[in-house]
Symmetry: C2
Subunit: 373 residues, 2 copies
């Protein structure tokens, strides 16, 4: 049984394509992970998610621990069985969402105490509890519990936050390694922090390498710094990480963010954008995002995106989707979400093929020339 | 090209099974028509609707004329193309829904003037306009414009209401027959009214037969009279209608209503119950309806209905559907609606098979013995 292995098949500049092998299946990289917050990729059946080309999805520890509860999911056979998704699942640590609750939380060295947004009940999330929850869920890729440094931060704030995250990373590693058969099947990723500060990110990387992880995430980006600043950090932060392990840029992003991050050597992404947009009428298309609520689509017989091979574009007009979105119909969210996930996965396939063919720059230039975000 | 033909293959008592042939496909009878109110069977893709066994769906004239508008649907190629459903569609006349708007309507011999519940705009629905709308939508089975007599009604009220409906039925027939190629492809059904009064229903039937229709509906039931009273009317009202044309019981109903109506010779049904229930957590099962919101299902690993062959029951537990419904997830509505439509279509297939095998009474007794509504 393959616990975790990462093989790079081709590189083109800093960009790379390859695959992660795990016992529940292969993850082609660069990979986009649709977000399945509450044990469902919203408005999609799992077979529909798979048909878009997704090899792995992301589950949210925070949401799942509140409802239905990690122990309950475990009693029901784990998250894969519960939600009928047999391929790999990456779970976040819950830290990002807990800490975004603001006044409802109390942070200490031990962890974060927080109140449920559902019923006000009090919960504790720590490195040990986060890893336990991810084990109960049965995650294939487990994320270390950390603090996503708020933006903006001074260098001193970023350094203090990063150091706590690195202490929590060590505790996460120790908790993960406590012998049971989950660690034998799952992988653990550490998360580089450091906000906009190169030296802090270097020290974070050093700490992660000292602890040892199966893969590395870059945290603390896509938090409001903007596309240019994010690319500026990636220019140095990616290269700090080992080349032989997957690099995951958390919470990213827009299609142009993804192209630029892949150019700099990122292998994995997750973002709610395609699914959330699908429920608000925004569709991704080759020329950029369009809002199907717009009256100009009311009698538009063309597909959402003429370059798209998805089931929505094969059978439905912009006029019909416009009608569904305007009418608040569930089918509108279904068709739009499916289209958006196809768009993202088609982009990932395009990037993988371009890297494999040593024509990443041409592909990226062609995509970005047309796509207006 | 077959415009419309109805062939009864077998009878068992008053119950019959057979098929309606139309150019867009065959409708096996007794048939249940899922309701596609606003050009969508809510929370379902058309291929999913078809997979449940539905041969025909119903569209609502009232909703479609307000949004997106009948003329717009016509410009976009008709309702079938618009919503990607290539099989037969029956449209109602809009009368029932318009008249349930109450104070927002003004009824005259000409028709009904009403205000849109969406934007307050004023509209007129008459026999001529209703038929025109149904033609613009491209309906395969067109319903005469009538008044669903409010319940309860005195015999005098029922008679006056029925007589107006019969005048409107004549005008509907005349409007339908105005030469164009729609009448050559579509069928027109008349609607028997008369509330709870046998003599009034007989006179209504006489008037319909005098005008001449492709099929006959029974209107004015499932309006609050209850199961027993409805069966009491069907005991005489069905037999008034010609045996060689389809009989359609409008807006019915619960599974036990359907069994009793088929027993009395009804061939077609429509009802929002399976789809609407699917969005509120109520599932149909062999023992009767259950509400998946109920806490007792939180860790129930069984399927919604152990006797069901639907995709939901094949892959998802009650515990998972409970979680989705409690969380307000779209996938909950999707899985529940699919299950409920499968349940209804499985019932129709069971009824058809039982009639074909001359064992209707045994099948009905077995179903009703177990099913507690």
């Amino acid at each position: 049984m393959t616990r975790f292995s990462f093989a790079i098949a081709e590189t083109d500049g800093a960009a790379r394509t390859g695959a992660i092998a795990m016992h529940r299946g292969e993850i082609r990289t660069p990979a986009f992970m649709p977000v399945g917050t509450a044990a469902t990729v919203k408005a999609m059946k799992p077979e529909g998610v798979r048909a878009t080309g997704a090899d792995i999805i992301l589950g949210n520890t925070y949401h799942l621990v509140l409802r239905p509860g990690a122990e309950r999911v475990a009693r029901l056979g784990g998250l894969h069985k519960f939600m009928n998704w047999g391929r790999p699942i990456l779970t976040d640590s819950g830290g990002f969402q807990v800490m975004s609750l603001g006044e409802l939380t109390k942070k200490t060295e031990e962890g974060v105490r927080f109140k449920s947004h559902l019923d006000g009940s009090s919960h504790m999330l720590s490195p040990e509890r986060s890893i336990e929850i991810q084990r109960l869920l049965g995650a294939d890729i487990v994320m270390a519990f950390d603090e996503c440094t708020p933006f903006p931060a001074t260098e001193a704030q970023a350094d203090a936050s990063m150091k706590r995250s690195m202490r929590w990373a060590r505790r996460s590693r120790d908790a993960f390694d406590v012998g049971d058969n989950h660690a034998a099947r799952a992988a653990l990723f550490g998360i580089q922090q450091g906000s906009m500060f190169r030296d802090v990110r270097q020290r974070s990387t050093d700490a992660l390498l000292d602890i040892g992880f199966d893969g590395h995430a870059i945290g603390g980006l896509a938090v409001g710094e903007g596309h240019e600043a994010m690319c500026g950090v990636l220019d140095y932060a990616v290269a700090m990480l080992p080349t032989d392990k997957p690099r995951y840029l958390m919470g990213v992003g827009k299609p142009d963010d993804i192209v630029e991050a892949v150019r700099r050597g990122i292998d994995m992404f997750d973002c709610v954008l395609p699914t959330r947009s699908g429920r608000t009428g925004q569709a991704f298309a080759a020329d950029g995002p369009i809002n199907l609520r717009n009256a100009r689509f009311a009698e538009d017989q063309g597909p959402i995106d003429e370059t798209c091979a998805c089931p929505t574009c094969a059978s439905y007009s912009r006029a019909y989707v416009h009608h569904l979105v305007r009418s608040g119909e569930i089918l509108g969210a279904m068709l739009m979400t499916e289209h958006n996930l196809w768009f993202y996965q088609a982009l990932m396939q395009g990037l993988r093929d371009a890297i494999a063919g040593q024509r990443f720059d041409v592909y990226a230039a062609s995509f970005l020339e047309r796509y207006r975000s």
